[in-house]
């Protein structure tokens, strides 16, 4: 079961995550978000990502709860208030803040499980097998590949301009003035690089129509296709129920 879950088609994982997100926001709290977050953590733990998914969900849910409590219980207290160390505090704001944060955490955990356990390139290949146009495949795959290169280049530009005496300190205006010497070369180099890439794409007949072959196929058994249909159907039914109830 666990080995099978680790090899799951990325589209099946996405369908499961969407169903869990729908459950989180349509089924009233605490049942909906609690069931969704529990299932998400179970899936994540079985695929070896339990801790990372928990950290990711907590990183969104906990600060949001803190900000909501400060705003709705302390700064602009709603409902009945009690005095705590001389400060008016609305305990009634704690529970709604908890439900909002729990929903956020559950949604992040559901989608985070997919993000943490699915290599993006595998997801793009699975989408390509289901008919994603070549230009969309290129955009997603090339964007994912370009991020480390752009970060490296940003670091190089920073180092180079510092060597030439650029001061990154001072007041806000001085720092604003330093933005163009840093961002400018990075942006110009990315645009000129795009021209080189475009020539390479044209040379490889990127515009050619017709089916393309993939060197690495992502397995998509019939039972997973059936499961996906059921999960997409359940997601749509949940959303419709949310509108009519």
């Amino acid at each position: 079961m666990i080995a099978r879950l680790r090899r799951i088609n990325p589209l099946t994982a996405v369908a499961a995550a969407v169903l869990l997100v729908a459950m989180t926001y349509v089924v009233p709290p605490p049942v909906g978000p609690l069931v969704a977050v529990t299932l998400s953590f179970m899936l994540a733990a079985m695929t070896g990502a339990g801790r990372r998914v928990a950290v990711l969900a907590a990183a969104v849910a906990v600060p949001t709860w803190g900000f909501l409590v400060v705003m709705n219980a302390l700064v602009a207290p709603e409902g009945e208030t009690v005095r705590v160390a001389g400060v008016a505090f609305a305990p009634g704001a704690l529970v709604p803040a908890a439900w909002i944060s729990l929903r956020l955490g559950a949604a992040v955990a559901a989608l985070g499980w997919v993000v943490m356990t699915t290599p993006p390139q595998r997801l793009v290949r699975a989408l390509a097998q289901r008919g994603l146009p070549a230009w969309s495949q290129y955009l997603l795959a090339a964007s994912l590949a370009a991020v480390p290169e752009a970060r490296r280049r940003a670091g190089e530009v920073l180092d180079a301009q510092r060597c030439r005496g650029l001061a990154a300190g001072g007041g806000p205006l001085a720092r604003l003035r330093a933005t163009l010497p840093l961002a400018g070369p990075l942006m110009v180099s990315l645009v000129t690089d795009a021209e080189r890439r475009a020539i390479a794409l044209d040379a490889r007949a990127f515009d050619a129509r017709g089916e393309r072959t993939s060197l690495a196929e992502v397995a998509d058994p019939n039972e997973e296709r059936m499961l996906r249909m059921v999960m997409w159907g359940a997601s749509v039914a949940l959303v419709l129920w949310g509108f009519v109830r």
Binding site: R103, P120, L139, S143, V147, R151, L190, T192
Partner: protein, 187 residues
């Protein structure tokens, strides 16, 4: 869409994600995380701008946190507005670009408010959230506080992004501008 626009979009997406290193080094009170979207929209039009914005948040969702996926409508609005602004010549000079930045910031901020209200209860954990809390302390209704906080942060951010893009376009080699169908972006 031209092949060069298609080749530029992944680099612009990466720029949106990588610019954070420069913003952090300068300790700027802005994000500039739509600067690549504005650049593509200015060079290749509204459709390319929308695609860049949507792809940026999808990639951020995959690499960082899925919460960015919820803000895809905001980046789409930035892309389409910057593209339309470019069509009316807003990036031909820095002052014009600043005006475009105000419009883009207003629309982006207004678009993000329903998302923040629905998903976050009106406050996000960060600089915008602190502004919202301060405005709530001044007795403003939640929706108004969230709108003012979001718009004020976005207007400053997009004004700076647009000004930088206009300055960069003026420095681009003419040959590159011509490949995007522009005689010269700064002309």
């Amino acid at each position: 869409m031209s092949t060069i626009a298609l080749a530029l979009i992944p680099r612009a997406v990466a720029l949106n994600l990588a610019i954070g290193a420069i913003v952090a080094a300068l300790k700027l009170p802005v994000y500039l995380d739509s600067i690549g979207t504005v650049l593509v929209a200015a060079l290749a039009g509204p459709l390319a701008g929308v695609i860049t914005g949507v792809t940026s948040n999808l990639v951020l969702g995959m690499l960082s946190s899925p919460i960015f996926i919820a803000f895809i409508p905001v980046t789409a609005v930035i892309g389409v507005t910057a593209g339309i602004a470019s069509r009316v010549g807003a990036f031909r000079s820095v002052p014009r670009a600043l005006v475009a930045g105000v419009v883009i910031g207003l629309l982006a901020g207004a678009t993000s408010v329903p998302i923040v209200l629905a998903l976050f209860g009106g406050v996000t954990a960060g600089g915008t959230g602190i502004v919202t809390i301060v405005l709530r302390a001044l007795d403003l209704p939640l929706a108004s506080a969230a709108l003012i906080a979001s718009v004020s942060v976005d207007v400053i951010d997009k004004m700076l992004s647009c000004a930088i893009v206009a300055a960069v376009l003026a420095r681009l080699p003419r040959r590159i501008g011509a490949r995007f169908g522009l005689p010269h972006p700064a002309a």
